[in-house]
């Protein structure tokens, strides 16, 4: 686990290609702003996300994780 940043928590978002990722895309097209410390991973379906992958993300130092779909 990496050192945590107090000011900017790193958030990883697993987003379903067909809904949540499309929404994030739309947010970009609409020039809506969200924190740059949020990283989005597109997945074919939110059901594709495994517990092991979430734990790996925490091991690699993310502060929070979102599965959106």
């Amino acid at each position: 686990m990496a050192e945590k940043s107090v000011s900017e928590p790193r958030i990883l978002a697993f987003c379903c290609r067909y809904c949540a990722y499309a929404a994030a895309d739309l947010a970009g097209a609409m020039r809506l702003r969200y924190a740059p410390s949020i990283r989005i991973v597109e997945v074919p379906c939110s059901g594709r996300v495994e517990v092991g992958e979430m734990l790996h993300a925490f091991e690699r130092g993310v502060d929070g994780l979102m599965v959106a779909g």
């Binding site: 686990m1 495994e50 517990v51 092991g52 734990l55 790996h56 925490f58 091991e59």
Partner: protein
């Protein structure tokens, strides 16, 4: 299938003690299909151990491998060259797999990460119910295919007992009375008279009471020509 449950993380941490480098060995057969010790569970436990040990201030290096069957020599033999790199091996197989590892690789200490619980049937997704106790003298032919050794709390051969109420066992209302089930099957087949025959005491010498069991099939053994 053989069914197991993962031990609590605290207990596993206690077993591992001060080990710095750990290899978790999963099994690709029974414990994979009961979601206790397959490749996924190995990965999850490895992550958990790495994070927990780091939080507790002694980083543990944890590697992962899953073999197809941990209870057969030919599947575990390929592990041998890498075992010397580890302080300890943690097996997520059933008790047979753990012992196979210790017997085959006496220089590497293999510890159990699971509690092996039963020979069970997955009656629905996420639910396993005990169906066999491997008693060594199957009586399913006398009991219409329902085992009172595994499913009757008293292992009665001539049931039901007075604790059978409304089809459930007095031990726990979630346990169906095995003898009620047997009776209903006998009624359905029109053969209740078969249950009137009193069964004599069971031969437990072929179960655990006779000590560890062993089968030798001479027709299957490899013959060594001098």
């Amino acid at each position: 299938m053989i069914v197991g449950e993962q031990k609590p993380l605290e207990e596993i941490m206690g077993l591992l003690g001060d080990a710095r480098k750990v290899l978790i060995v999963g099994c690709g057969t029974c414990v994979t299909v009961c979601f206790a010790g397959g490749e996924k569970e190995v990965g999850i436990l490895a992550s958990a151990l790495r994070m927990k040990s780091k939080l507790e201030g002694h980083s543990m290096e944890v590697d992962e491998v899953t073999v197809q069957r941990q209870c057969e020599w030919e599947y575990i033999d390929p592990l041998q060259p890498q075992l010397k790199e580890y302080d300890v091996v943690l097996s997520l197989a059933c008790g047979i797999g753990v012992q196979a590892m210790n017997e085959r690789f006496p220089d590497a200490l293999t510890l159990p990460g699971l509690n092996t619980t039963s020979l069970s049937l997955p009656v629905e997704q996420g639910v396993w119910e005990e169906r066999c106790q491997a008693c060594g003298d199957c009586i399913l032919g006398l009991t219409f295919g329902i085992c009172p050794i595994a499913r009757c709390s008293k292992q009665l051969l001539n049931g039901p007992c007075g604790g059978s109420q409304n089809g459930v066992c007095e031990v726990d209302p979630d346990i169906p009375c095995a003898w009620q089930l047997i009776w209903e099957r006998a009624v359905a087949f029109g053969q209740v008279e078969r249950l009137l025959e009193i069964q004599p005491p069971k031969n437990w010498s072929v179960s655990r009471d006779g000590g560890p069991r062993k089968i030798v099939r001479e027709d299957l053994r490899l013959t060594h020509v001098e």
